[in-house]
């Protein structure tokens, strides 16, 4: 994906037509070049692109390639983090504009790393990709207690709960959260997605989650599918 250094020196983003600029920005995202992404976003805005189109057709499309190459063992965590930081730079410019311009809203997700766990790289990636897909994301951060998840779900009138854990010692806490939701009679009010390196589908089923998501891209697709199913049920009922 990356251009060699000699080519990079000659590229002036503002001189590229829209299609070439889009491709160049996806390359820059892959290479984790935050300043170039911010510059590219500004250029496309000046050219009249809708913020939602920049988000989906450039940034999300670029991160999709990053995610695929991470899954396939071509990219590793440092490169994904750099790409995510670059995307974050673009998102910071676009976020205030998305609401103003009536970008589609897919639903609302409350997300957090479970109690006793401070690992948030995967959770942050999921949050960012969910936001890129049009979900509003309420990030509770790390070391999140069941009560905090539940309070946020109610307060925000969320559709989805996302829980993350990196440790085999902390992932059982996801069941504590789900069981607490059951005790309060609110489990079926929300879609519950879980993820994290030591988890698998079997674990997700065993604790009563709706789905285990192995990466950020799967989380987005799963969330979309569940939300559309929920909407269909509501319109049928």
């Amino acid at each position: 994906m990356a251009n060699d250094a000699g080519e990079d020196d000659e590229i002036v983003l503002s001189e590229l037509d829209d299609e070439a600029l889009n491709l160049q920005m996806q390359d820059d995202l892959y290479d984790g070049l935050k300043e170039e992404i911010e510059e590219g976003v500004r250029i496309l805005l000046e050219r009249g692109w809708a913020p939602y189109d920049i988000l989906t057709r450039v940034l999300v499309a670029g991160m999709q390639v990053v995610g695929d190459d991470f899954r396939d063992g071509i990219l590793f965590v440092p490169e994904v983090l750099l790409a995510a930081n670059a995307m974050k730079g673009g998102m910071a410019i676009l976020r205030p504009l998305l609401a103003e311009t009536g970008a589609p809203k897919m639903g609302k997700m409350v997300i957090g790393t479970v109690k006793g766990d401070i690992h948030d790289i995967g959770k942050n990636l999921v949050g960012m990709m969910m936001e890129g897909a049009g979900f509003e994301v309420i990030d509770l951060g790390i070391n999140t207690e069941a009560e905090s998840y539940i309070e946020a779900l109610k307060r925000e009138e969320a559709d989805i709960l996302g829980m993350s854990a990196l440790l085999t010692t902390t992932m059982p806490y996801m069941k504590v959260v789900i069981d607490t939701m059951k005790e309060k009679g609110i489990r079926e009010d929300y879609i519950v997605l879980v993820g994290g390196a030591p988890l698998n589908e079997e674990f997700g089923r065993a604790i009563g989650a709706d789905a285990y998501c192995r990466d950020a891209a799967v989380a987005v697709e799963t969330a979309k599918a569940f939300v559309s199913r929920k909407h269909n049920r509501m319109s049928a009922g």
Binding site: F76, V77, P78, I118, N143, P198
Partner: protein, 226 residues
């Protein structure tokens, strides 16, 4: 005495340790534990216990550990009376436990070596207060660049440090030996990660009890010959 040459850390990281071919009992271990296992075998005169280690760097690719263990068991099974596994779950998500059940071999209980080196009970008792701690063993302190710094890309992108470690508060060196030079090295690792430093002498914890149990069981079953 079961005195074997001490393997170099780089070799243990990348290649592991081949079995010597002596002894009736084989322990398959993580290369990160090779020195400690050899020390326990020697201290307890477990001369009938042989050791082979998988490359320690599998620590960073836990999805590959179970497959490597299966291959090692198959390779050595005919040669030894019994085989034991000096791994805990080690990020395999239960895959090693399932494999051990299938193959009928024993392993060390616990989530990882940080836990069993301290002793699983003691580690679990502290867990709630230490979830913001990053652990190093003696081996990982010596191999910090190979296991932490370079794989996380911090040699090329030091600006990523806080993305990885911003939520951690301290680095705890779980020390198996008393070595001032290694202590200084571990302290330097903490500084590089921007963390407070703490040293905790653990010795060999549950590793020692597992090895002596395996050695004793084999000794009894076979009348101590060999």
């Amino acid at each position: 005495m079961n005195r074997r040459p001490q393997p170099g850390d780089d070799t243990l990281t990348e290649a592991g340790l081949p079995a010597s071919g002596r002894g009736r009992v084989l322990v398959i271990g993580c290369g990160a534990l090779a020195r400690e296992i050899l020390a326990v075998l020697e201290a307890n005169r477990l001369d009938h216990v042989d050791l082979t280690c998988l490359p320690a760097i599998l620590h960073n690719r836990p999805g590959r550990i179970a497959g490597a263990v299966r291959a090692a068991v198959e390779r050595h099974r005919a040669r030894y009376e019994s085989i034991h596994l000096a791994y805990a779950d080690c990020g395999t998500g239960g895959a090693l436990a399932a494999l051990c059940r299938e193959l009928g071999i024993d392993m060390i209980s616990g989530p990882h070596c940080y836990s069993f080196l301290e002793g699983n009970a003691a580690f679990a008792a502290r867990a709630e207060d230490e979830f913001d701690a990053f652990y190093l063993t003696d081996f990982l302190a010596r191999q910090f660049d190979a296991f932490v710094w370079r794989p996380l890309g911090l040699d090329r992108h030091p600006e990523l440090r806080d993305s990885y470690f911003g939520n951690y508060r301290r680095l705890i060196h779980l020390a198996q030996s008393d070595d001032p030079a290694l202590d200084a090295r571990a302290r330097d690792c903490a500084t590089r990660l921007g963390l407070e430093y703490e040293r905790r002498r653990t010795g060999y914890g549950d590793l020692e009890s597992a090895l002596t149990r395996w050695g004793a069981t084999a000794g009894q079953a076979n009348g101590g010959h060999g």
